[in-house]
Symmetry: C2
Subunit: 325 residues, 2 copies
């Protein structure tokens, strides 16, 4: 552990309490001058301190940007994020993670960026996220399951994000099949799983998650304002992005382990419980043409079963689902 | 068309006939000296000529290596190979094609190499092919079908190769599920489909084909000799690689069009007719453990249906099938 990390540990162990320069000096085994240098390093990283003579230092504000050090301290996972890259700006975290995966990065390698200059959603659509407010991240997975199980992993990722959002922010987001998170019909998070396969074998999979966290209403371009929202707007106060990121990957890791052991059935039940799609009339275009019907449930593969007016049960494997009543 | 191409056209239009220098000069609209220069260019590319005074030139031997020009002349396809890259040596045609695909290369872009320094088969296994004797090629596909149809495309590719091999060489190769070509139990061709997907959407797919064409028995390392064969060994004479490559992509293009129109059923029938797997006892390991049973047929998704001794019908989606009786 670096001196900076040890210091941060010390200051965050009881954030209300002051820690004296003397104690820091002792714990870090450095001179008082060196303590002051370490404190300044944290200041440069965006931390603000209250410094009171004879009492010492305490943190009054953490950096606005996602601090890798703080995330490492917060993240209670075994695999995900243990290999971590936090970037100020990148073209796309998916691209970044893909390059790492091609170079042999292990499962769980996590890329987070404050800003994506070419961030994208499904089908190459642009994903809007102003610097320092959203969450854009991608993780490298090396699942044992062959390719045709990947849709299940998409749904699993959605469940992890949805559960973490509800737990950390209290915002009751719901799942639109397959992997959009909605709040009152407005999209709050998009998920994209990209895979590289050899026949049925999955070389790697990149799970990308974009979340509208602390965007304000005025951050959105005019044309998006009527349909845009963020967790901050919904909750009425700022979200702790670090807490949310940590919760997402803790949820993900637990669900991923459950999935490896028990298969898709428990994941499907969790997804169904969070769904805003089931029971609704949906329109979707599949290979054979447009289908309208009532979204009934997931089939064992993760496809959405749609019951048409004439009673046929059509499995939908892909496509944009338009929600009706 | 370049002068070299026009000249080749002229000489190949009736290969037994001599073409006079005067006629070449007229058709290319160049001087007699320039004709001689063009002939020399073809010599450098590996063509050999008989040149007889007052009669002219005729081709007596074509280059041993795969000549892009000759392939273009031979290939009767609309899409596949219209964008063509023939390399003397590369790490792997799959890698080359993948880079082209990422850079936006259109469907049908074909990469062929005389030598692969890091050619690979399924699960990263090495693929043995000495320079100038085998066929190593990869094509960029941008299929409309979502990811879960990719196993069908693997089987389709196998059918194309098998039909072309039988037609051009007369060697009666058969299909081992999913996509190995065998002659008397010995592998003569391996096929590998790599895909890059975004959720269910296939960004692109690279179909790689390796064929043991003109390898001689002594080309193989000792440990492979008992199990190795080539089309040349089986047929007892050299194979025209250009004819075979052209035939494969013509077959492929026709089957691919059929598949887009009619779906998988006709492809499955063709595959079953070429199979050496069906009716045999097979051993295969799937997620739930090893399975032994009789390979019955393909299911509509392309999975191999195996009937176990206790009468269960198990669909096999992936894995190495070991053939028994």
């Amino acid at each position: 552990m670096s001196k900076k990390e040890t210091l941060l540990d010390l200051l965050l162990s009881d954030p209300q309490e002051f820690v004296s320069g003397e104690e820091i000096s002792r714990r870090l085994s450095v001179s008082r001058t060196a303590v002051w240098k370490q404190i300044n390093k944290l200041r440069e990283a965006g931390y603000e301190f209250e410094a009171v003579p004879h009492k010492g230092y305490r943190i009054v504000s953490k950096p606005e940007r996602i601090d890798a050090l703080l995330l490492v301290k917060t993240l209670k996972t075994k695999t995900i994020g243990q290999n971590l890259k936090v970037l100020d700006s990148t073209v796309s975290t998916q691209e970044e993670a893909r390059e790492l995966a091609e170079a042999g990065a292990p499962e769980g390698t996590l890329v987070i960026a404050e800003e994506q200059t070419g961030g994208k959603g499904r089908m190459g659509r642009k994903w809007f996220s102003p610097k320092g407010k959203g969450i854009s991240m991608s993780v490298v997975l090396r699942p044992k399951q062959p390719m045709h199980y990947m849709p299940q992993l998409t749904l699993l990722t959605g469940v992890a994000v949805c559960r973490a959002v509800r737990r950390v922010t209290g915002v009751m987001a719901g799942m639109k099949w397959p992997n959009d998170l909605l709040v009152d019909g407005r999209k709050i998070s998009g998920i994209l799983l990209e895979s590289a396969t050899e026949d049925e074998y999955v070389r790697y999979c990149i799970a990308g998650i974009g979340i509208s966290a602390n965007q304000d209403h005025e951050d959105y371009p005019e044309e998006l304002k009527p349909i845009a929202t963020s967790l901050k707007i919904e909750k009425g106060e700022k979200i702790d992005r670090i807490q949310l990121i940590a919760a997402i990957w803790e949820e993900f890791e637990a669900l991923y382990a459950l999935y490896q052991q028990e298969g898709f059935a428990p994941i499907a039940s969790l997804w169904e419980a969070l769904s805003v799609t089931l029971g609704k009339t949906v329109n979707v275009t599949i290979a054979s043409g447009p289908v309208t019907g009532k979204a009934e449930k997931l089939d064992p593969s993760g496809a959405l079963l749609v019951v048409t007016e004439d009673g046929r049960r059509v499995p939908v494997f892909s496509g944009d689902v338009e929600l009706g009543r």
